[in-house]
Symmetry: C2
Subunit: 614 residues, 2 copies
């Protein structure tokens, strides 16, 4: 399959589009402001040796350039699909690009941490993110080029990529065999190859993947394992080490697979995906359970004081999308949907200016969203993903004979098929209700491939122009409707949403006797704000307690909440351990569960996803 | 109360004494060997500018001197109570002392990290452990002086302490207001004051405690909280931040309290102890749940993938002992006993040459004891504690009219009371059986204060010369027997040991529906080595299943194990989450629980303390 491009889809839904407008009007400008006031922009100006900046040294973390690149990428994608670009926004982007371009060394090297006052130390420390930053530059440049047609940033990125190709590679070619401790440049190089067609970029990306895994990356107490450097990629069968690195690595390798088709890479990726999906993911879709090292845990090591970095969830979406395009397995689209609602979205506040770095599934009220971070990878990562969301709705089968619908978000799209372009208008009330209408805007013969989400527990209904589609509609598959479509054809899809009590595998020992609540693609949580006078850790939801769903306009302009009668089991708090069961009093109490993404927006207090069920 | 000195008690028991002999014959020499081969000894020689060493730079972590000091302390205490010191051991100690002494600067400063090639940077970085290392030097010197009478190391320590007194202190006295990021020097200085009587040492220790808590300690992403620097001590009501630092800080403050009696310090310490004991300790007695920062977690944040550093448990013993001597509350002696068996002892292998740094309560088999660590704080810390164990058995009431028996370990002791010395011989089979015999060796009028452990669930029996003591014997108190004792009087004490199913407070959400097994002072765990073909995470021990205790000679030369019939609930491992309970098959299977301290000695495999009970 291939994607259809962010500019070809205009989201018009009541859930994501308002959030994208907050992203445009609040997050993107405020992130620019943060990059200004924290000296991230100034770093480029210092590297550029602007007269007013020349005496200053580098500011902040060595990888701070990457935040500016991710901001550029977000701002560029955000323009996609707009008939007229906002002039002020374009000016803002161009100004940053001018600073970035001016900071580039004559030989093409870019990276303000080294250019400002460490020129001679280039490529001496694998863990200084030089190529990681460069990869983000390339991704920003591609976005800017694709959306605006300009090559102002693309030329900068290509000069850096050319410098890499000349400088880095096998020693026997007289190059420096330098591999970045933080993967990311691999996928950027392959995308750059796709844009400009220069095969050296693909070859260098392949070399980075082939050369990694020789256990050379050590620093202090940190071992090669942290950097996915302990075994070569083709023998890497688990998701281990720093989670963002791991999913970016896998994403780059999936891009490589798309170009080379190499079976050994395919096999390793399949095992890595199984490792993540079947043994190392939270019920939210979040990944990377360890605070120590921001890392994947062992199998079933999923403590509810999760690290679950927002960036790692974003990386999971990126990897899942690449894998989906390659193998067409709808489980990846399921994961994208689930992860977006339940692991990425919690990372940004409704106001668009506060962020979670970590996403625990249980908290005592201390964990709150922040305006910015010293290590600020997450905020612009969320912004660039929200800006790209329209690209995740559809794809087209390789032969141009099939249109895949992965996400059911209201939108208008133009889908280029073999020899024709099909306008499609979609309407739904996702994620709250599962009724979807697709209106085909032009004639064409193709298969419409409708994802039937795995979360459907009852039989979905599908009709074309009011006529029931008779084929068996199976959750967890694409329903194929092969047809010569006419302009005005209407497809209706009804995906029943049921409230589910989700159990966790017993190997996750700490979730024994507990359940999580879901409805459709939304994971729920209980929060103390809805339970005055009750410690929510003392709430138990009996297995047979009825649960109702209702609209609540109090939160985030309207979300569906779940209501039930729970048992309040009050415990004596003075000792930690005792030789008999803790005496508890039991009284009925109303329970309200809110979407997990909405937690932490009211007065601070405990929150938990997994609820006692006895 | 006051302690009676390590040299006054000769342990003769079947549990600790063999381990102390392994400590003497294996751990202490092999730790010396590690200090040699890792360059820790060489660092002193380089600082001493020995001709062969002068070109070399510092080796390893900046705090590596402290390992050598702790080794010296262990080796010195280990000589205590011996009629003739082992000549080879004395030679080894003296050689190290000579290197240490030679490394000292003319002004008294000592610390090879700075002396070798950073002289000008002394006291510029609060997190380089300069005074922490110095504190360990002082403790080693005191041990060496107390046991041998020599002042060879004490003189070095005093010169360093004098340098501190001249150099560090309030700015208005023209001194440098420098506080170490890692507490430890406070308790060392107060002990030095007690030994040599120089009040400046006490005053400097007080200044360190008074001046801390101004939120000046920041480094990278690490905040003042990590260093207990976020609030002044008198407002510190929780155990927070780096756990070893926190308990060393509290230990020093308890020493200060013993000298000053200041109520505000007493109040803060009481709240800190409650915080640790009631909300932030593992069932093992281990403390410091977070891997990230080696830190205390929030209340009830006690994941079973515990960090629970061995050193933190040792610090808990040190603090508890100091508190016990001050307030006479037997709960501290209970904690010492429990922590020694279940949180310190797991830190060293039966062979005396492998160590745990972290002590998880649940593991998949990857966590194994190591011969040494880059950061090797734990091994010599265990060694110095084992060497000092005889000092934890008895204490004497301040007026000299009471003998407290805190631990029931077979031993011979000479207890100095007001005007007389009472020989006492104790016999028991602790920790496996609770029958204790105490034989008084000389006449004297005093109260014998017998700790009745809180773990007693049935009424203990006490007799003097065969005559039942009629007073009510309450677990969790000291039973006082006031009497004019005669030589040959025999006190018998029978502490019934029952197998207990321990429940965890429901706020520790992940232990819901699970129990831990204990008997007497021993915590148990299940390990895969005893359950071939069974994944121990699939074992459930029904609430009504009978549990038997039996001697097993297979492990550690003999331990008591627990046996029961459990239910093997086999689960389908292919998905992590599902909308119904996981289907399980149930079959009876034998369960064996071993003492937690004994885990990790056989083939690697899963271990867990908390066992499903349904």
């Amino acid at each position: 399959m291939r994607g259809i491009g962010v500019s070809s889809v205009r989201l018009e839904d009541g859930f994501w589009q308002p959030r994208r407008e907050v992203n445009r009007n609040v997050s993107i400008p405020s992130q620019h402001h943060q990059c200004v006031i924290t000296g991230r922009i100034d770093n480029f100006r210092r590297a550029a040796k602007y007269p007013d900046y020349v005496a200053k040294s580098f500011n902040g973390y060595f990888f701070n350039d990457s935040d500016v690149y991710k901001w550029l990428e977000a701002a560029a994608w955000d323009l996609a699909g707009e008939a007229d670009f906002d002039a002020e926004r374009v000016r803002m982007i161009d100004e940053v690009i001018a600073d970035v371009a001016a900071s580039q060394d004559a030989d093409g090297y870019i990276g303000s941490y080294y250019v400002i006052d460490r020129e001679k130390d280039r490529l001496t420390d694998f863990d200084k993110h030089e190529l990681y930053c460069g990869g983000h530059l390339i991704q920003a440049a591609i976005a800017h080029h694709r959306v605006t047609g300009s090559t102002s940033l693309l030329a900068v990125a290509q000069r850096f990529a050319d410098w890499m190709c000349r400088t880095i590679g096998p020693a026997e070619q007289g190059k420096k065999p330098f591999i970045d401790g933080h993967e990311q440049v691999e996928m950027a190089l392959i995308e750059l190859y796709r844009v400009v067609g220069d095969k050296r970029y693909l070859e260098l990306a392949q070399w980075f993947i082939d050369a990694r895994g020789r256990s050379t990356m050590k620093c202090g107490n940190v071992t090669p394992w942290h950097f996915q450097d302990h075994v070569p990629f083709r023998q890497l069968h688990e998701m281990v080490g720093h989670a963002v690195r791991a999913v970016y690595y896998a994403s780059g390798a999936t891009d490589l697979l798309a170009e080379t088709g190499e079976q050994a890479i395919r096999d390793a990726l399949r095992k890595q995906m199984q490792s993540m999906a079947e043994r190392r993911s939270y019920v939210s879709g979040g990944i990377g359970s360890r605070w120590h090292g921001e890392a994947f845990g062992d199998d079933y090591e999923l403590p509810n004081r999760a690290y679950a970095e927002t960036c790692a969830a974003i990386g999971s979406v990126m990897w899942s999308w690449r894998t989906l395009l390659l193998d067409g397995d709808p489980s990846h689209a399921d994961r994208i949907e689930w992860t977006l609602y339940n692991a990425v979205l919690p990372g940004v506040a409704f106001d668009g200016r506060h962020y979670f770095y970590q996403n625990p599934l249980e908290d005592d009220g201390k964990h709150r969203r922040c305006e910015w971070f010293g290590c600020a990878c997450c905020p612009p990562n969320v912004a660039r993903l929200l800006a790209q969301l329209p690209g995740y709705v559809f794809s087209v089968g390789r032969d141009g004979g099939a249109v895949y619908v992965h996400q059911y978000w209201s939108c208008s799209a133009s889908i280029a098929l073999a020899g024709t372009t099909i306008p499609v208008v979609m309407r739904s009330s996702m994620p709250w209700e599962g009724d979807v209408e697709l209106r085909i805007g032009a004639a064409g013969s193709f298969a419409l491939m409708l994802r039937i989400p795995k979360w459907c527990r009852q039989k979905p209904l599908v009709s074309v122009n009011g006529e029931r589609v008779s084929s068996d509609v199976m959750p967890g598959t694409y329903l194929a409707i092969h047809r010569s479509w006419e302009a005005g054809d209407v497809v209706k899809l009804s995906l029943p949403m049921t409230i589910e009590r989700v159990a966790c595998h017993p190997y996750v020992t700490h979730n024994a006797g507990r359940l999580a609540l879901t409805r459709g693609p939304i994971l729920y949580a209980i929060e103390s704000a809805d339970h005055p006078g009750v410690d929510i850790r003392e709430l138990a939801l009996p297995a047979d307690a009825p649960i109702e769903c209702e609209m609540s306009s109090d939160l985030a302009g309207g979300v569906h909440v779940l209501k039930a009668t729970a048992i309040h089991r009050r415990a004596e708090p003075s000792v930690l351990y005792r030789s008999t069961v803790f005496p508890e009093t039991a009284a009925p109490v109303p329970l309200t569960a809110i979407p997990y993404f909405a937690w932490g927006h009211r007065e601070a207090g405990p929150m938990q996803v997994w609820i006692r069920c006895d």
